[in-house]
Symmetry: C2
Subunit: 445 residues, 2 copies
Amino acid sequence: MAITSRAKSKPGKKTVPVKKPVLRRKKLKVAIAGFGTVGRSVAKLLCQEASDTFELTHIFNRNVARKKVDWVPASVRWTESINEVLSSDIDIFVELAGGVKPAGDWIRKALRSGKSVVTANKLLIAESGPELVEIAREAGRRLEFGASVAGGIPAIMGIQDGLAGDRLFKIAGVLNGTCNFILTKMEATGASFESALREAQELGFAEADPTNDVEGYDARAKLVILAQAGLRVRLESEQIPCWPISSVEAVDFAYARELSCTIRQISLAQKETGDGLSVRAFVRPALVPMSSLVAHVEGSKNLVMATGQYAGQMVFSGFGAGGDPTAVAVVSDLYSIARTGQSPAGNLPVVETPKDVSGEFTAPYYLRFVVKDRPGIIAAVATVLSRYGIGIDAVLQRPGYPHSALPFIMTLEPAGSAMLGCALQEINRLDFHVEPVLCMPILVD
Amino acid sequence: MAITSRAKSKPGKKTVPVKKPVLRRKKLKVAIAGFGTVGRSVAKLLCQEASDTFELTHIFNRNVARKKVDWVPASVRWTESINEVLSSDIDIFVELAGGVKPAGDWIRKALRSGKSVVTANKLLIAESGPELVEIAREAGRRLEFGASVAGGIPAIMGIQDGLAGDRLFKIAGVLNGTCNFILTKMEATGASFESALREAQELGFAEADPTNDVEGYDARAKLVILAQAGLRVRLESEQIPCWPISSVEAVDFAYARELSCTIRQISLAQKETGDGLSVRAFVRPALVPMSSLVAHVEGSKNLVMATGQYAGQMVFSGFGAGGDPTAVAVVSDLYSIARTGQSPAGNLPVVETPKDVSGEFTAPYYLRFVVKDRPGIIAAVATVLSRYGIGIDAVLQRPGYPHSALPFIMTLEPAGSAMLGCALQEINRLDFHVEPVLCMPILVD
């Protein structure tokens, strides 16, 4: 007996109960564009686990000959011609090539020729999500992108549908597995950022050019998508300030531990209503208390927190990347289309464009100094801070460091980041610094 | 612009793009049966947040006069007659009365008269879920029960739809907020079980008769529902062994801490395939490592873990009870019906009945003894264990307890629970015990 039943029947029309419903729908024809790690995993799931519901008909890739594998059915057509795929009779086009171009054009064309689309393309959805959704609506077809954020974690469905009854005002999370791998490696072993990055690269968790991950751009694209799904606000990536994790050092984990915290790359978007809708959003390394679930997301895992007016804080966590977890998200989207049909759903609230988007954020802050030690340093810093009305909470200095490059930290009473930024500009001009002051918010849930 | 668009249009038919789609569907008429804490919260959400999509038309309760509130629209009909509700022209019947009878009959009648049903009734769904789903299928109507497990956490949707592409083999979690409140209170303050229970009762987190929570029966009903949704197996509550949390004492938290663990009430169901499908399932207090997210679920929160062959382990956490969180789950189910229609979805895999269900579970175990101290106790215990082929990992004894009632613990190498149960029967017959040995598995993720 099925927990959610298989067959549709007309309202009021009683069907004769049968012990095992054997009704089989026509299989949905699926084409995959992009046969890299995720593409291969999706093909595997479609051929092994989901072959009752879906028929894989096409695999598109450039230089497709070198991609061929022997475990897909002989009926699958391998092709280098995207037009052959888009002009075929497939039901669903699965876009896994990535990048804004030409993937966006393929998706537009697929939707307009009556195919539903499933994509894992975070850059494209962050940039053009609402436009593509509108094209899907006009075409009467589905566009699903559950795999574009946090891999296998059903975060978009969870916040958009599962918490549809709430009014969410905050989305926060650990959205980049590479950064989380590096930071948890530094936390566990005392490694430097450079050596943790090198290990991540050797293990395939970081790319040769890690800029997109380390600077926060990858997480930012995901935050834009989550803010659309959960907060129903339209952000542009460029509106969200990012701070790199590369300025975090081993000593910061030691100090964080003394404050019962650890350090994570946090992506946060928070809706505030006052004189019009405004949104606070950033991607940056931050201190998080050990009592929070966020502090216990290890390695390449991801975590998404959604906070609503009624249900409070919800957390979703799991593997945010990798071929198989991402493929699960893709195939779950395919099942969603199989289950509820090709027509786009109705009745979801409109996405608003906020009046104001900024990284301004009031919180207690952690400042880490590395100085050539001499008397009067704390007094000099305190003088500047007090001029900006910013209170000092504590000063900590661990023993065992040279006077020529002495790290110490200061924790601050809650302060606005803009005001603190001004104070830090002034503080950074003082002559005792060995490196610029590192500033991180201390987040509470 | 809507992130998921509002209007359905026919495939191929191009509609003229409009800036703000103003198409309004007819509101869905909703009746609430049961106007307690959750019913009031659902009514509030329907009247405040969701009034564009739904119209609350009836509120049913016994002695309804004493329930009346002035903040629902005057058009709402307050009634003591369930037949008046079920024979009206409502679209969706929301059952919040709880209990197996008469709620089950109301739901059957509602479905058969062409209404969709949303319920938060865990006992009923655990007992009769598949039967009711079949009735819904025959009637061509939706039956949604996202609120029946873990309140506001979209766990059922998350594992059933969000992870549809995976093959889940294990569901585990902290499913009872009352027990979690008691255990985390004991953990934080060193309180005894009795005093933590009293505090939970005073704060309204536990009922006057806490049996259902403390013995594990409440969590067990939820586990049955999650196993159906995620593992697609049909368990009967009676097949799942439960151990009470009342035998956990303050000293156990002290010992757990020395083992880098804490104690939670864990509900677990795990599918194993060998010679036919078998399922291991239990509800019991267990040691969980501090490195696990489970160890950091505090107070009345819940956590659901789902482990799949492809996406690995996913975690969902949040408030598992309370009026507002549960109401969010109910209203999210209502939105799901508004979004994807009254017809039940198709294409979900069949739920299987396992050949064998047992609480047998191989794990390292924690044994806590309270003894009248004398030489030879550890030797006596070790002799019995070794006869059953069970290896001892460590023996710990904290100072500061009287010789007349001395607690100490033993941790065991992984052992089968049935074999261990036999050994414990024999050990409990030895003459030095002040109370029976407490036995808990030590779980790793």
